[in-house]
Amino acid sequence: MFGLDKKDSTLLILVAVLTLLAPFILNPFPSDSGLAQFNAGYPDLMQRFVIFGIFAIGFNILFGLTGYLSFGHAAFLGVGSYSAVWMFKLLSMNILPAIILSVIISGLFALVIGFVSLRRSGIYFSILTLAFAQMSFALAYSVLTPITNGETGLQIALDDPRIFGGAVAADGSIPVTNLFGLEMRSAFDMAVGPWSFTFSAGYYVCAIVMLIAFYLAIRIFRSPFGMMLRAIKSNQTRMNYTGLNPKPYTLAAFVISGMYAGLAGGLMASMDPLAGAERMQWTASGEVVLMTILGGAGTLIGPVLGAGAIKYMENIFSKINDNVLHGWFAFLPDGMEDAVVWILHPFVGKGWHLTLGIIFMLVVIFLPGGLVEGGQRIARAFKGKKAKETSEKATTEPAE
């Protein structure tokens, strides 16, 4: 299907079904039950899942395939966001031109940064990308204030010189982002008994863009270009002596992954037309590294899983405070309840980073291939059991 083999088609269809049904899948608990706080099916969070999914898919094309570890990819995400907001301010509230510009500008930005950073490899490359990103972050806060609006962040205002659609909506408020009239914030709720599900236009736009981005990533993985990128990671000496110049390949991978980051940034601004410098900070660059490694670097689906896992923890785990814990353990005798809450306290709420850190360490040590390897091991264990059963049958049958 679409030029993919059977295995990849199955994966793509599976991901498509899961993303399109996400409003159901992520809201498994009735809205009035105690578990409702584990529901992740609200538009804001679902959008973040897929947007960071795109970011990580792109990052994986560089890091997973070539092994070049960039510590500055958030800069491209930030540049994408700024470009999109400028497009909203100057051209129109339609997200399509905004996203296109985000991708182009971040691509150009990546071309320059990549060209310089790729003169070195290994740790020096990582440091160069980190330095560039921190420089961009600092500039966005200081001298570039006319473009970035400094600390406040770039926003839509009532006096924007917008060419199409005017500066003010019919009701006198700031107009909203849309795709040819379909407003990104529009949503409709569906209640099924005690359950409630929200379908948001913004989420579905992001989801479809993510599926296209994922599909393109699969094509890249399976292309001669993808093979060259893996060859770069494997043995650059052999590559050189086989008549291939690794540099343009690596630079192309860098630019493509920068464009993915810009796409994510543009989408982020399209969902909420605001761009701030903190999006470019090194912590944001580090986050996409964590996502990719946690999910499984170099695998197709890993980065998406990693992005989902981290965003879920960031938004759900962080909401569990002491009151919630006391509620859960109310059935215990008072002293014990306090003790349990005291033990769990550092791991939830603001302490979710600790939980993430522990999970990350466990994954890196025991599952170097990330969550994907975990999945594969479970699948193999099941298959192994089945294979054993059938072989046992085969050996016992003749005896009968």
Binding site: R219, I220, M228, S234
Partner: protein, 251 residues
């Protein structure tokens, strides 16, 4: 004029004169062996031919063009392929993928952005790769992760990767080192066959005299960075200078 002309090439490493005024002419479609004791400068000479090292003095002409100052991938595109003393293969890739990469390099040049096309659809190249693997008796290993193979297999794979590019000049740095006797004989047979079937020039560095005398049309003996003698194999065997160089190493 040979296809490869090395003139007065010298190379120093700090205080060590690794090569001093090496002159070498390799005729087209012949097999030229370079022998000599360990540390004689054989690998250094090879490195000067493929762009890994730039000689301090002298010139290296291949096919009428200078190779000096060109990078390894440009020199490969001129028609020189090289097998290393320790096999250099793409360890993370399968045997088949290892074979596809040189084919892409040959067809598409040093760089081409084929990002959407599928490798699976390259029927013709795949067939070519399978045929070459068949020739080196590795077809049954084509789905294997190449890092997990034996050293002998890695060498054979590297040789196949070079041969599939149909180079004008094949450089071999001790291609049978670490191979079992049977594998060595297979390699000799393979190279003989290639020599007969194709227009190819081979320059080989080898310790194993059995290999040298089975393949070489011409032999250069290198000692301490300078060529001692160059002659046909039958004249090299009993040459007093050669005896001397090799006896020197044995003691």
């Amino acid at each position: 004029m040979g296809i490869l002309e090395v003139k007065d090439v010298g190379k120093r490493f700090g205080g060590l004169q690794a090569l001093g005024d090496v002159n070498l002419s390799v005729k087209e479609n012949t097999c030229h062996a370079i022998i000599g004791p360990n540390g004689a400068g054989k690998s250094t000479l090879l490195n000067c031919l493929v762009g890994k090292l730039i000689p301090d003095t002298g010139s290296v002409m291949f096919d009428g063009q200078s190779v000096l100052g060109r990078s390894p991938h440009e020199i490969n595109q001129m028609g020189i392929s090289r097998v290393f003393q320790t096999p250099e293969i793409f360890g993370d890739l399968t045997v088949m993928e290892n074979m596809m990469i040189p084919l892409f390099a040959k067809r598409d040049g040093s760089y081409r952005l084929h990002a959407i096309k599928s490798v699976m659809n390259e029927r013709q190249l795949r067939e070519e790769a399978e045929q070459m693997l068949e020739e080196v008796n590795m077809l049954d290993k084509r789905h294997m992760h190449s890092a997990s193979m034996s050293r002998g297999d890695k060498r054979r794979l590297e040789m196949a990767m070079c041969l599939i590019q149909r180079p004008k000049l094949l450089l071999l740095d001790e291609p049978t080192a670490g191979m079992a006797r049977a594998d060595t004989n297979n390699t000799i047979d393979l190279l003989k066959e290639i020599k007969e079937k194709r227009d190819i020039t081979i320059a080989i560095i080898e310790h194993d005299m059995h290999v040298v005398f089975s393949l070489a049309d011409r032999i250069t003996v290198l000692a301490q960075g300078t060529p001692l003698v160059e002659d046909a194999p039958e004249n090299i065997k009993g040459h007093p200078k050669v005896q001397e160089a090799y006896l020197g190493e044995a003691h």
